[in-house]
């Protein structure tokens, strides 16, 4: 089984929502530059996939691809899974202990109750209402790009939840070059879903595919903030070649074993 390969879809969510298109607002990467992938970091990625064969010419294995959608200018994906939910709980706890301190203060040392309340409100932040239809990937509280909760009037500074791939289809799927599906990671409680595909590497050629991508727009509806889903699409390509697979670490692979010449 060869190394699984990853395709990163980095979306400028704010600009894509503004312009209502992913064209010019989506940047694609893969880790196959060594195999001849082209257009890294642009919207025109062509992912190179080398066939892999036994010495008698029969197919050795298929290639596995994984897609990882990220949001540009949001809290990075390197924070723990479920970070938004965790921040919502943390700030609830902070607000509770603040409230407790306020309540236990003797009446004559109360200070400015209005100021204390407003501080409490800041600590609590603003919740996003979720409905069946608008249940986004981050339906907890509105966070800014530094991971702090923001209150009602500061909502313009909010961070966007990562884009969600909802389907992969098009030429490469129709021609049975790849078989994509959505899988759940072991972290089922949070949003551990990802798209993966096996690729038939025996039929050289360039094949296009389309990703259906859902972004989320923060909307104020009837006094409640909600995440409104916005569906857009983005195209990319696979190029399957019959060259042998190379070892990414030793950069060799034409011999029997993937070790560099002495």
């Amino acid at each position: 089984m060869p190394q699984q390969l990853a395709i990163i879809l980095l979306v400028d969510v704010a600009n894509a929502l503004e312009m209502k298109t992913l064209e010019g607002n989506a940047y694609l990467f893969d880790n196959m530059k060594l195999h001849g992938s082209e257009g890294q970091g642009t919207g025109e990625l062509v992912t190179a996939i080398h066939g892999s064969y036994w010495r008698d010419g029969s197919q050795a294995t298929e290639q596995v691809l994984n897609w990882l959608p990220y949001s540009l200018g949001s809290i990075p994906p390197t924070v723990p899974r479920g970070y938004e939910a965790e921040r919502a709980r943390q700030t609830d706890r902070e607000a509770l202990s603040e409230l407790e301190a306020m309540v236990h203060k003797p009446a004559n040392q109360g200070g400015d109750a209005a100021a204390q309340l407003s501080h409490l409100q800041q600590t609590l932040g603003t919740r996003v209402r979720s409905t069946r239809r608008t249940r986004g990937p981050a339906t907890q509280k509105i966070l800014d790009v530094t991971g702090n909760v923001i209150s009602y009037d500061g909502a313009a500074a909010h961070t966007y939840p990562p884009p969600v791939i909802t389907d992969i289809y098009g030429e490469a799927v129709d021609k049975k070059i790849m078989y994509p599906a959505e899988y759940g990671s072991p972290d089922m409680v949070t949003d551990g879903w990802y798209w993966s595909a096996t690729v038939d590497s025996t039929r050289p050629g360039t094949y296009a595919y389309t990703m259906a991508v859902q972004l989320h727009r923060l909307l104020l509806q009837g006094g409640d903030w909600t995440w409104e889903p916005v569906d857009l699409t983005c195209e990319s390509k696979l190029r399957i070649v019959s060259e042998p697979k190379r070892n990414a670490f030793t950069k060799s692979g034409l011999g029997l074993l993937p070790i560099p010449p002495a």
Binding site: A6, I8, L10, D12, A14, N15, E18, G24, N25, Y27, F29, N31, K33, Q40, G41, T42, L68, Y70, L72, G73, S74, I75, P76, P77, T78, V79, P80, Y83, E86, R87, Q90, D144, V145, T146, G147, N148, D153, G154, A156, A157, H158, T159, A248
Partner: protein, 142 residues
């Protein structure tokens, strides 16, 4: 009279600059050249050079600028060790996302008439102890 610097405006999102680093490529070459892709969130405001090492981020006085980075290999570690820039223009500080040890750098642009201000990013890559520094320069432009 020089234009007055605006006060810090927290109600607007900072301009985020994201560095996507091919950690394996950078470690193999000992350089980020050809392995670094820079983006920001101010395309509508006139930033250019997306996806290159020479990103030109359009800023104004009072804008907060936030730097973070992503590894192209999701299992590799990359981080920013320092941002070297004219401190008369901006003083980026290292901060972490609350409750985590994931860092970002943030600063506020101090003045308007900055013309072109080059800067260098020092990256921490994998377990390498010596940071790898940008070779071509990204810039802040006024």
């Amino acid at each position: 009279m020089p234009p007055r610097a605006k006060t810090r405006d927290n109600s607007r999102a900072p301009i985020s600059i994201t560095a996507v680093l091919d950690a394996v490529g950078a470690l193999a070459a000992g350089s980020v050249r050809g392995h670094l892709y820079l983006y920001d969130t101010n395309k509508a405001g006139g930033s250019t050079g997306f996806g290159t090492e020479e990103l030109r981020t359009r800023v104004r006085a009072g804008d907060r600028v936030l730097w973070n980075c992503l590894a192209l290999e999701c299992e590799a570690f990359v981080g920013i060790a320092a941002i070297e820039v004219d401190r008369a223009v901006i003083e980026p500080e290292r901060k972490v996302y609350p409750g985590t040890d994931v860092a970002y750098w943030i600063g506020t642009v101090k003045k308007d008439d900055i013309d072109v201000v080059p800067y260098r990013i020092k990256f921490l890559v994998g377990t390498r102890t010596e940071p790898i520094v940008t070779t071509l320069s990204p810039t802040l432009v006024g």
